[in-house]
Amino acid sequence: MTSDPRDQQSGPEFEQDLKAVRSAWSGLEQTDPPELLNQAVLNTARRELNTRRRSRPLRWLGGFATATVIVLALTIVIQQDQQQTTPVLKKTNGFKLDQTDPAAPPVTASDAAVMAVAEEMSDSLAESEKATDSIPEADAWIERLLLLRETHQDELLIQELTAFREAFPGYTLPPELQD
């Protein structure tokens, strides 16, 4: 059978022991790190914060660079979209409109007017190019006709001359070939 120790140690002596045990226990529970250790830890924390504040501008610069790249990319995409909305012209023979391009946007009334003007311009350009190209061709032909005349190949000369007049009706023949 157990007995209560307070039965044997009653009175002020027991109370003193109890107080001593309580103070020892509370002293053990209240064991805290030394003040110097606290200061060391807090100083380390402050130093770390200062170090981070010094390196923070670089982080800001990284964000700014990312934003700039995004804005540039968007600008390029928008410009490309705007270029795609204008009619697609391909220089084939002069300026010919490529209306068969599947990527080309639908043509509006104003676009059709622009296309008509462009086609007229391309036709006239092609004609002028053709006329310019034909002058050396006619000169060479005339030289060949003169050679036929000098070599007295009269039948061939008549055939060639008829063909030349059909090809170049407005061309003024040299006096040697006019008779």
Binding site: T31, D32, V41, L42, A45, E48
Partner: protein, 87 residues
């Protein structure tokens, strides 16, 4: 006024709030120190371990994410058992 959680204090410290760290430190310094002291039974070693632990916490605070359980949240597991390092 509602008590700020450890996670909130760590995030505040990571954002540059020194007072948040002081509060976090005052909340956990005693329990952590006593835990270490009980494990090693030597004050000098306990001091070294204590300081090293806090230095690691300070260094890692920059990349801290409040996904892991710590402190009071870690004490109560879903099955009702207790867990955690800070007590």
């Amino acid at each position: 006024m509602r008590e700020r959680s450890d996670e909130t204090l760590m995030m505040a410290y990571a954002d540059g709030n020194m007072e948040a760290f002081e509060l976090l430190y005052s909340r956990h310094r005693g329990p952590l120190y006593r835990y270490i002291l009980r494990q090693v039974s030597d004050a000098a070693t306990a001091n070294d371990l204590f300081q090293g632990s806090w230095e690691k916490i300070i260094k890692a605070s920059g990349s801290y994410k409040p996904s892991a359980l710590c402190g009071r949240q870690a004490e109560e597991k879903p099955d009702g058992t207790r867990n955690g390092l800070m007590r």
